[in-house]
Amino acid sequence: MSTQTYEAETFRKLQPQEYLRKFLLKEVRPDGRELKQFRQTTVNLGCISTTNGSSLVRIGNTTVVCGIKAEVSVPKQTSTKEGYLVPNVELSPMCSPKFKPGPPSEHAQVLSENINRLLKSASILDLNTLCIHEGSAVWVLYADIVCVNYDGNVFDACVIGLITALSNVKLPKATFAEEEGLVKATEELLIPLNLSRLPYPATFSIFDGQYLLVDPTEVEESVAHEVITIICDEAGQICTVWKVGGISCTPKHLEKCISIARERYIEIAAIVENEEKSNNLI
Protein backbone atom coordinates (compact mmCIF):
# COMPACT_ATOMS: atom_id res chain seq x y z
CA MET A 1 0.00 0.00 0.00
CA SER A 2 1.27 3.44 -0.82
CA THR A 3 1.29 6.36 1.56
CA GLN A 4 -1.50 7.90 -0.52
CA THR A 5 -3.99 5.25 0.52
CA TYR A 6 -2.89 5.61 4.13
CA GLU A 7 -3.84 9.22 4.02
CA ALA A 8 -7.22 8.42 2.55
CA GLU A 9 -7.73 5.75 5.22
CA THR A 10 -6.73 8.20 7.94
CA PHE A 11 -9.09 10.82 6.55
CA ARG A 12 -11.91 8.29 6.41
CA LYS A 13 -11.29 7.28 9.99
CA LEU A 14 -11.16 10.82 11.34
CA GLN A 15 -13.86 12.46 9.20
CA PRO A 16 -16.16 9.72 7.87
CA GLN A 17 -18.92 12.07 6.74
CA GLU A 18 -16.60 14.51 4.97
CA TYR A 19 -14.93 11.53 3.35
CA LEU A 20 -18.17 10.22 1.86
CA ARG A 21 -19.32 13.72 0.87
CA LYS A 22 -16.15 14.29 -1.15
CA PHE A 23 -16.86 11.17 -3.21
CA LEU A 24 -20.55 11.89 -3.70
CA LEU A 25 -19.84 15.38 -4.96
CA LYS A 26 -18.24 13.61 -7.92
CA GLU A 27 -21.25 11.26 -8.27
CA VAL A 28 -19.17 8.27 -7.31
CA ARG A 29 -18.92 6.12 -4.20
CA PRO A 30 -15.86 5.14 -2.16
CA ASP A 31 -15.84 1.65 -3.69
CA GLY A 32 -16.07 3.04 -7.22
CA ARG A 33 -19.74 2.31 -7.78
CA GLU A 34 -22.31 4.67 -9.21
CA LEU A 35 -25.00 5.92 -6.84
CA LYS A 36 -27.66 3.54 -8.14
CA GLN A 37 -25.46 0.53 -8.70
CA PHE A 38 -25.77 -2.65 -6.64
CA ARG A 39 -22.71 -4.63 -5.65
CA GLN A 40 -22.04 -7.92 -7.37
CA THR A 41 -24.42 -10.49 -5.94
CA THR A 42 -23.94 -14.23 -5.94
CA VAL A 43 -26.07 -17.06 -4.63
CA ASN A 44 -24.75 -20.53 -3.88
CA LEU A 45 -27.44 -23.13 -3.19
CA GLY A 46 -27.16 -26.34 -1.19
CA CYS A 47 -23.71 -25.56 0.16
CA ILE A 48 -24.29 -27.08 3.62
CA SER A 49 -25.05 -30.80 3.51
CA THR A 50 -26.24 -31.03 7.12
CA THR A 51 -29.33 -28.97 6.22
CA ASN A 52 -32.60 -29.58 4.39
CA GLY A 53 -31.92 -26.49 2.36
CA SER A 54 -29.16 -23.91 2.37
CA SER A 55 -27.90 -20.91 0.56
CA LEU A 56 -24.80 -18.74 0.67
CA VAL A 57 -25.38 -15.18 -0.45
CA ARG A 58 -22.78 -12.54 -1.13
CA ILE A 59 -23.49 -8.93 -1.88
CA GLY A 60 -20.05 -7.44 -2.43
CA ASN A 61 -18.16 -8.34 0.71
CA THR A 62 -21.27 -8.97 2.75
CA THR A 63 -21.69 -12.70 3.21
CA VAL A 64 -24.46 -14.65 4.89
CA VAL A 65 -25.22 -18.34 5.09
CA CYS A 66 -28.79 -19.50 5.58
CA GLY A 67 -29.38 -23.08 6.62
CA ILE A 68 -32.79 -24.63 7.13
CA LYS A 69 -33.26 -27.65 9.30
CA ALA A 70 -36.51 -29.54 9.62
CA GLU A 71 -37.57 -31.02 12.94
CA VAL A 72 -40.83 -32.42 14.21
CA SER A 73 -43.15 -30.93 16.82
CA VAL A 74 -46.74 -30.87 17.98
CA PRO A 75 -49.02 -28.27 16.35
CA LYS A 76 -50.76 -25.56 18.35
CA GLN A 77 -54.14 -26.52 19.68
CA THR A 78 -55.75 -23.59 17.91
CA SER A 79 -54.42 -24.56 14.49
CA THR A 80 -53.94 -28.29 14.35
CA LYS A 81 -52.57 -28.44 10.82
CA GLU A 82 -50.10 -25.57 10.92
CA GLY A 83 -46.38 -26.17 11.10
CA TYR A 84 -43.77 -23.64 12.16
CA LEU A 85 -41.24 -21.54 10.31
CA VAL A 86 -38.78 -19.93 12.74
CA PRO A 87 -36.29 -17.43 11.34
CA ASN A 88 -33.25 -16.41 13.38
CA VAL A 89 -30.44 -14.03 12.42
CA GLU A 90 -27.04 -14.42 14.07
CA LEU A 91 -24.69 -11.46 14.02
CA SER A 92 -21.62 -12.94 15.65
CA PRO A 93 -18.59 -10.92 16.77
CA MET A 94 -16.74 -12.69 13.98
CA CYS A 95 -18.46 -10.78 11.20
CA SER A 96 -17.80 -7.25 12.40
CA PRO A 97 -16.06 -5.45 15.28
CA LYS A 98 -19.44 -3.81 16.00
CA PHE A 99 -20.85 -6.95 17.59
CA LYS A 100 -20.10 -8.38 21.00
CA PRO A 101 -20.45 -12.00 22.09
CA GLY A 102 -23.62 -12.88 23.98
CA PRO A 103 -27.38 -12.78 23.38
CA PRO A 104 -28.73 -11.22 20.16
CA SER A 105 -28.17 -7.48 19.90
CA GLU A 106 -31.02 -5.11 19.09
CA HIS A 107 -29.81 -5.10 15.51
CA ALA A 108 -30.07 -8.89 15.20
CA GLN A 109 -33.47 -8.90 16.89
CA VAL A 110 -34.84 -6.29 14.51
CA LEU A 111 -33.54 -8.23 11.49
CA SER A 112 -35.18 -11.44 12.75
CA GLU A 113 -38.42 -9.65 13.55
CA ASN A 114 -38.70 -7.94 10.16
CA ILE A 115 -37.96 -11.21 8.37
CA ASN A 116 -40.61 -12.93 10.47
CA ARG A 117 -43.12 -10.19 9.66
CA LEU A 118 -42.36 -10.57 5.96
CA LEU A 119 -42.85 -14.35 6.09
CA LYS A 120 -46.13 -14.02 7.94
CA SER A 121 -47.77 -11.01 6.33
CA ALA A 122 -46.92 -11.98 2.78
CA SER A 123 -47.78 -15.63 3.65
CA ILE A 124 -44.83 -16.89 1.65
CA LEU A 125 -45.23 -20.44 2.87
CA ASP A 126 -48.61 -21.92 3.69
CA LEU A 127 -47.88 -23.44 7.09
CA ASN A 128 -50.64 -26.01 6.54
CA THR A 129 -48.38 -27.72 4.00
CA LEU A 130 -46.02 -28.58 6.88
CA CYS A 131 -48.58 -30.93 8.40
CA ILE A 132 -47.48 -34.54 8.86
CA HIS A 133 -50.46 -35.76 10.86
CA GLU A 134 -53.23 -33.41 11.84
CA GLY A 135 -53.23 -32.59 15.54
CA SER A 136 -50.17 -34.73 16.31
CA ALA A 137 -47.15 -33.92 14.22
CA VAL A 138 -46.00 -31.06 12.02
CA TRP A 139 -42.69 -29.92 10.56
CA VAL A 140 -40.76 -27.12 12.24
CA LEU A 141 -38.45 -25.35 9.85
CA TYR A 142 -35.63 -23.56 11.64
CA ALA A 143 -34.17 -20.98 9.29
CA ASP A 144 -30.90 -19.85 10.84
CA ILE A 145 -29.10 -17.08 9.03
CA VAL A 146 -25.45 -16.66 10.03
CA CYS A 147 -23.65 -13.53 8.97
CA VAL A 148 -20.05 -14.28 8.03
CA ASN A 149 -18.95 -10.83 6.88
CA TYR A 150 -20.83 -7.65 7.72
CA ASP A 151 -20.20 -5.02 5.07
CA GLY A 152 -23.56 -3.28 5.01
CA ASN A 153 -26.99 -4.13 3.68
CA VAL A 154 -27.20 -7.36 5.62
CA PHE A 155 -30.99 -7.30 5.56
CA ASP A 156 -31.05 -7.78 1.78
CA ALA A 157 -28.54 -10.61 2.03
CA CYS A 158 -30.61 -12.26 4.78
CA VAL A 159 -33.87 -12.08 2.83
CA ILE A 160 -32.31 -13.38 -0.38
CA GLY A 161 -30.59 -16.11 1.65
CA LEU A 162 -33.79 -17.12 3.35
CA ILE A 163 -35.99 -17.15 0.25
CA THR A 164 -33.45 -19.08 -1.83
CA ALA A 165 -32.76 -21.52 0.99
CA LEU A 166 -36.51 -22.09 1.38
CA SER A 167 -36.82 -22.85 -2.31
CA ASN A 168 -33.85 -25.21 -1.90
CA VAL A 169 -35.51 -27.16 0.94
CA LYS A 170 -36.23 -30.83 0.39
CA LEU A 171 -38.18 -32.67 3.07
CA PRO A 172 -38.15 -36.43 3.57
CA LYS A 173 -41.35 -38.44 3.26
CA ALA A 174 -42.61 -38.66 6.80
CA THR A 175 -45.20 -40.83 8.43
CA PHE A 176 -46.65 -40.63 11.89
CA ALA A 177 -46.75 -43.93 13.72
CA GLU A 178 -49.78 -43.44 15.93
CA GLU A 179 -49.18 -46.32 18.36
CA GLU A 180 -45.61 -45.17 19.16
CA GLY A 181 -46.31 -41.46 18.76
CA LEU A 182 -43.18 -41.10 16.63
CA VAL A 183 -42.46 -39.63 13.26
CA LYS A 184 -40.44 -41.77 10.89
CA ALA A 185 -38.86 -40.31 7.81
CA THR A 186 -37.10 -41.64 4.77
CA GLU A 187 -33.42 -41.03 4.28
CA GLU A 188 -33.89 -39.42 0.85
CA LEU A 189 -34.98 -35.82 0.77
CA LEU A 190 -37.52 -35.45 -1.96
CA ILE A 191 -40.35 -33.09 -1.26
CA PRO A 192 -39.80 -29.40 -2.06
CA LEU A 193 -41.77 -26.65 -0.38
CA ASN A 194 -44.54 -24.90 -2.22
CA LEU A 195 -43.82 -21.20 -1.89
CA SER A 196 -46.65 -18.83 -2.79
CA ARG A 197 -44.30 -16.03 -3.82
CA LEU A 198 -40.58 -15.32 -3.99
CA PRO A 199 -40.01 -11.78 -2.77
CA TYR A 200 -36.59 -10.12 -3.08
CA PRO A 201 -35.49 -6.87 -1.45
CA ALA A 202 -33.64 -3.68 -2.30
CA THR A 203 -32.24 -1.31 0.32
CA PHE A 204 -31.33 2.35 -0.01
CA SER A 205 -29.69 4.96 2.21
CA ILE A 206 -30.19 8.69 1.97
CA PHE A 207 -27.11 10.73 2.83
CA ASP A 208 -27.18 14.46 3.60
CA GLY A 209 -30.87 14.45 2.67
CA GLN A 210 -30.05 14.42 -1.03
CA TYR A 211 -27.96 11.46 -2.16
CA LEU A 212 -29.89 8.24 -2.67
CA LEU A 213 -27.37 5.42 -2.25
CA VAL A 214 -28.36 1.99 -3.47
CA ASP A 215 -27.13 -1.05 -1.53
CA PRO A 216 -25.06 0.82 1.10
CA THR A 217 -21.80 -0.60 2.44
CA GLU A 218 -20.91 -0.59 6.11
CA VAL A 219 -18.97 2.67 5.71
CA GLU A 220 -21.98 4.33 4.10
CA GLU A 221 -24.48 2.88 6.57
CA SER A 222 -22.51 4.26 9.49
CA VAL A 223 -23.03 7.86 8.34
CA ALA A 224 -26.28 7.70 6.34
CA HIS A 225 -29.01 6.92 8.84
CA GLU A 226 -32.05 7.33 6.65
CA VAL A 227 -32.76 3.85 5.33
CA ILE A 228 -35.45 2.57 2.96
CA THR A 229 -36.09 -1.08 2.16
CA ILE A 230 -38.56 -2.22 -0.46
CA ILE A 231 -39.42 -5.87 -1.00
CA CYS A 232 -41.35 -6.85 -4.13
CA ASP A 233 -42.53 -10.14 -5.54
CA GLU A 234 -42.52 -11.59 -9.05
CA ALA A 235 -45.86 -9.96 -9.90
CA GLY A 236 -44.47 -6.51 -9.08
CA GLN A 237 -46.53 -6.28 -5.93
CA ILE A 238 -44.93 -4.82 -2.83
CA CYS A 239 -44.51 -6.96 0.29
CA THR A 240 -42.63 -4.58 2.56
CA VAL A 241 -41.84 -0.90 2.77
CA TRP A 242 -39.61 -0.06 5.72
CA LYS A 243 -38.23 3.39 6.22
CA VAL A 244 -36.56 4.83 9.31
CA GLY A 245 -34.52 7.90 10.29
CA GLY A 246 -34.46 11.34 8.67
CA ILE A 247 -37.15 13.52 7.15
CA SER A 248 -35.98 14.09 3.63
CA CYS A 249 -37.88 11.24 2.02
CA THR A 250 -40.62 12.36 -0.36
CA PRO A 251 -43.14 10.26 -2.32
CA LYS A 252 -40.90 10.91 -5.34
CA HIS A 253 -38.02 9.17 -3.56
CA LEU A 254 -40.29 6.27 -2.68
CA GLU A 255 -41.51 5.94 -6.28
CA LYS A 256 -37.93 5.90 -7.48
CA CYS A 257 -36.98 3.29 -4.87
CA ILE A 258 -39.91 1.10 -5.87
CA SER A 259 -38.98 1.20 -9.54
CA ILE A 260 -35.32 0.41 -8.75
CA ALA A 261 -36.47 -2.43 -6.47
CA ARG A 262 -38.43 -3.91 -9.38
CA GLU A 263 -35.39 -3.79 -11.64
CA ARG A 264 -33.35 -5.35 -8.88
CA TYR A 265 -35.95 -8.10 -8.56
CA ILE A 266 -35.37 -9.14 -12.14
CA GLU A 267 -31.60 -9.09 -11.58
CA ILE A 268 -31.77 -11.30 -8.48
CA ALA A 269 -34.29 -13.67 -10.04
CA ALA A 270 -31.89 -14.19 -12.96
CA ILE A 271 -28.95 -14.87 -10.63
CA VAL A 272 -31.02 -17.38 -8.66
CA GLU A 273 -32.33 -19.06 -11.80
CA ASN A 274 -28.79 -19.52 -13.14
CA GLU A 275 -27.64 -20.99 -9.87
CA GLU A 276 -30.62 -23.34 -9.73
CA LYS A 277 -29.89 -24.55 -13.26
CA SER A 278 -26.22 -25.26 -12.57
CA ASN A 279 -27.17 -26.84 -9.25
CA ASN A 280 -29.58 -29.22 -10.95
CA LEU A 281 -26.95 -30.30 -13.45
CA ILE A 282 -24.69 -31.70 -10.75
Binding site: M1, E7, T10, F11
Partner: protein, 200 residues
Protein backbone atom coordinates in the same frame (compact mmCIF):
# COMPACT_ATOMS: atom_id res chain seq x y z
CA UNK B 1 12.48 -11.12 -3.48
CA UNK B 2 12.03 -13.65 -0.78
CA UNK B 3 8.56 -13.99 0.72
CA UNK B 4 8.33 -15.63 4.10
CA UNK B 5 5.74 -16.56 6.71
CA UNK B 6 6.06 -16.70 10.50
CA UNK B 7 8.47 -19.45 11.53
CA UNK B 8 10.57 -19.42 8.38
CA UNK B 9 14.22 -19.91 9.31
CA UNK B 10 16.14 -16.98 7.81
CA UNK B 11 19.80 -17.39 8.77
CA UNK B 12 22.29 -18.11 11.52
CA UNK B 13 22.18 -15.76 14.44
CA UNK B 14 25.93 -15.31 14.26
CA UNK B 15 25.73 -13.71 10.79
CA UNK B 16 23.02 -11.14 11.37
CA UNK B 17 21.30 -9.17 14.05
CA UNK B 18 17.55 -9.75 14.37
CA UNK B 19 15.60 -6.66 13.25
CA UNK B 20 11.87 -5.89 13.17
CA UNK B 21 9.69 -8.77 12.05
CA UNK B 22 12.18 -11.41 13.14
CA UNK B 23 13.28 -13.14 16.30
CA UNK B 24 16.27 -15.12 17.46
CA UNK B 25 15.99 -18.59 18.92
CA UNK B 26 18.90 -20.82 19.71
CA UNK B 27 21.39 -20.33 16.87
CA UNK B 28 18.94 -19.18 14.22
CA UNK B 29 16.93 -16.14 13.27
CA UNK B 30 13.33 -16.74 12.21
CA UNK B 31 10.68 -14.58 10.62
CA UNK B 32 7.73 -13.66 12.83
CA UNK B 33 5.46 -12.08 10.21
CA UNK B 34 4.30 -12.53 6.63
CA UNK B 35 6.51 -10.39 4.44
CA UNK B 36 9.63 -9.81 2.41
CA UNK B 37 13.14 -10.44 3.75
CA UNK B 38 15.41 -7.43 3.75
CA UNK B 39 18.87 -6.84 5.09
CA UNK B 40 20.91 -3.72 5.61
CA UNK B 41 24.03 -2.44 7.25
CA UNK B 42 23.26 0.39 9.59
CA UNK B 43 25.23 3.55 8.92
CA UNK B 44 26.62 5.06 12.03
CA UNK B 45 28.08 8.52 11.96
CA UNK B 46 31.03 8.64 14.27
CA UNK B 47 32.42 11.91 15.44
CA UNK B 48 35.97 10.66 15.57
CA UNK B 49 35.92 9.22 12.09
CA UNK B 50 36.73 5.85 13.49
CA UNK B 51 35.49 2.86 11.57
CA UNK B 52 32.94 1.11 13.69
CA UNK B 53 32.12 -2.44 12.82
CA UNK B 54 28.40 -2.98 12.56
CA UNK B 55 26.78 -6.32 12.06
CA UNK B 56 24.18 -6.65 9.30
CA UNK B 57 20.57 -6.46 10.35
CA UNK B 58 17.95 -8.73 8.89
CA UNK B 59 14.32 -7.67 8.85
CA UNK B 60 11.04 -8.82 7.42
CA UNK B 61 8.88 -6.00 6.10
CA UNK B 62 5.27 -6.62 6.97
CA UNK B 63 3.06 -7.41 4.02
CA UNK B 64 0.02 -7.82 6.27
CA UNK B 65 -0.42 -4.78 8.39
CA UNK B 66 -1.17 -5.36 11.98
CA UNK B 67 -3.76 -3.03 13.42
CA UNK B 68 -1.48 -0.48 15.00
CA UNK B 69 -1.03 -0.19 18.74
CA UNK B 70 0.47 2.88 20.37
CA UNK B 71 3.92 2.77 21.90
CA UNK B 72 6.04 5.29 23.77
CA UNK B 73 7.40 7.88 21.34
CA UNK B 74 4.73 7.30 18.68
CA UNK B 75 2.90 10.25 17.21
CA UNK B 76 -0.83 9.69 17.35
CA UNK B 77 -3.92 11.40 16.01
CA UNK B 78 -7.15 11.22 17.94
CA UNK B 79 -10.34 12.89 18.97
CA UNK B 80 -11.03 14.56 22.31
CA UNK B 81 -13.89 12.59 23.81
CA UNK B 82 -14.11 13.77 27.40
CA UNK B 83 -12.85 16.68 29.43
CA UNK B 84 -12.44 17.58 33.04
CA UNK B 85 -10.61 20.55 34.52
CA UNK B 86 -7.53 18.38 34.95
CA UNK B 87 -7.27 16.32 31.81
CA UNK B 88 -8.60 15.66 28.34
CA UNK B 89 -9.42 12.12 27.29
CA UNK B 90 -8.45 11.31 23.72
CA UNK B 91 -9.62 8.44 21.59
CA UNK B 92 -6.49 7.37 19.70
CA UNK B 93 -7.55 6.69 16.12
CA UNK B 94 -4.34 6.76 14.13
CA UNK B 95 -0.84 5.76 15.19
CA UNK B 96 1.86 7.24 12.98
CA UNK B 97 -0.11 7.19 9.76
CA UNK B 98 -1.81 3.84 10.21
CA UNK B 99 -5.41 3.94 11.44
CA UNK B 100 -6.30 1.68 14.37
CA UNK B 101 -9.17 -0.67 13.71
CA UNK B 102 -10.40 -0.12 17.24
CA UNK B 103 -9.61 3.03 19.17
CA UNK B 104 -7.28 3.14 22.13
CA UNK B 105 -7.78 5.55 24.98
CA UNK B 106 -5.24 8.17 26.00
CA UNK B 107 -5.23 11.19 28.27
CA UNK B 108 -3.53 14.55 28.11
CA UNK B 109 -3.04 15.81 31.64
CA UNK B 110 -3.03 19.57 32.11
CA UNK B 111 0.73 19.55 32.80
CA UNK B 112 1.36 17.88 29.43
CA UNK B 113 -0.59 20.38 27.31
CA UNK B 114 2.30 22.76 26.66
CA UNK B 115 5.92 23.23 27.62
CA UNK B 116 5.67 26.65 29.28
CA UNK B 117 3.58 28.04 32.14
CA UNK B 118 2.32 24.57 32.90
CA UNK B 119 0.54 25.63 36.08
CA UNK B 120 -1.60 28.16 34.22
CA UNK B 121 -2.96 25.68 31.69
CA UNK B 122 -6.71 25.44 31.52
CA UNK B 123 -7.92 22.38 29.66
CA UNK B 124 -11.02 24.19 28.47
CA UNK B 125 -8.82 26.86 26.87
CA UNK B 126 -6.72 24.24 25.12
CA UNK B 127 -9.16 21.70 23.70
CA UNK B 128 -12.83 21.19 23.05
CA UNK B 129 -14.83 18.01 22.62
CA UNK B 130 -14.54 16.64 19.13
CA UNK B 131 -11.24 18.36 18.34
CA UNK B 132 -8.77 16.27 16.40
CA UNK B 133 -5.37 16.47 18.06
CA UNK B 134 -1.91 15.28 17.24
CA UNK B 135 0.12 14.17 20.25
CA UNK B 136 3.02 12.07 21.36
CA UNK B 137 2.74 8.98 23.54
CA UNK B 138 4.87 9.67 26.63
CA UNK B 139 4.10 6.55 28.65
CA UNK B 140 2.01 3.42 28.63
CA UNK B 141 0.06 5.11 31.41
CA UNK B 142 -2.34 3.33 33.68
CA UNK B 143 -4.59 0.33 33.16
CA UNK B 144 -7.02 2.33 31.05
CA UNK B 145 -5.15 5.05 29.23
CA UNK B 146 -1.91 5.93 27.53
CA UNK B 147 -0.41 9.25 28.64
CA UNK B 148 -0.08 11.73 25.82
CA UNK B 149 1.65 15.08 25.50
CA UNK B 150 1.20 18.05 23.19
CA UNK B 151 4.09 20.03 24.68
CA UNK B 152 5.81 20.63 21.35
CA UNK B 153 5.10 23.09 18.55
CA UNK B 154 4.03 20.48 16.06
CA UNK B 155 1.52 18.88 18.44
CA UNK B 156 -1.93 20.09 19.41
CA UNK B 157 -5.26 20.65 17.69
CA UNK B 158 -5.12 20.05 13.95
CA UNK B 159 -8.81 20.16 13.14
CA UNK B 160 -11.62 21.80 15.06
CA UNK B 161 -15.14 23.02 14.58
CA UNK B 162 -16.27 26.34 16.00
CA UNK B 163 -19.33 26.81 18.19
CA UNK B 164 -21.14 27.81 14.99
CA UNK B 165 -20.25 24.42 13.53
CA UNK B 166 -17.87 25.69 10.86
CA UNK B 167 -14.26 24.71 10.34
CA UNK B 168 -11.60 26.72 12.13
CA UNK B 169 -8.14 27.73 11.02
CA UNK B 170 -5.23 28.36 13.36
CA UNK B 171 -4.12 31.99 13.56
CA UNK B 172 -1.53 31.63 16.32
CA UNK B 173 -0.31 28.82 18.51
CA UNK B 174 -3.16 29.38 20.93
CA UNK B 175 -5.95 30.82 18.79
CA UNK B 176 -8.16 29.48 16.06
CA UNK B 177 -10.61 31.39 13.96
CA UNK B 178 -13.95 30.26 12.65
CA UNK B 179 -14.10 30.40 8.87
CA UNK B 180 -17.76 31.39 8.97
CA UNK B 181 -18.27 33.83 11.82
CA UNK B 182 -14.62 34.94 12.20
CA UNK B 183 -14.95 34.39 15.93
CA UNK B 184 -11.69 33.51 17.67
CA UNK B 185 -11.57 30.55 20.05
CA UNK B 186 -8.79 29.36 22.31
CA UNK B 187 -6.91 26.18 21.43
CA UNK B 188 -3.47 24.68 21.79
CA UNK B 189 -2.84 24.47 18.06
CA UNK B 190 -0.38 22.31 16.24
CA UNK B 191 1.95 24.15 13.92
CA UNK B 192 -0.07 23.95 10.71
CA UNK B 193 1.27 21.55 8.10
CA UNK B 194 -0.42 18.26 7.49
CA UNK B 195 -2.77 16.09 5.56
CA UNK B 196 -5.92 18.06 6.17
CA UNK B 197 -4.66 21.07 4.29
CA UNK B 198 -4.17 18.80 1.28
CA UNK B 199 -7.55 17.24 1.51
CA UNK B 200 -9.55 20.41 1.86
Amino acid sequence: MRYVTPGTRLCFASEYEAGPGTYEREEYIYSSVVGIVQEFIPTVSTNTGEEKKQSKIITVSKEKHQSSIPDVGNIITGKVIRMTTREAVVSIMVVGNIPCKDDYQGIIRSQDVRATEKDKVKIIESYRLGDIVKAEVISLGDARSYYLSTAKNEYGVIYAQSVAGAMMVPISWQNMQCTKTKAVELRKCAKPEDLFSKNQ
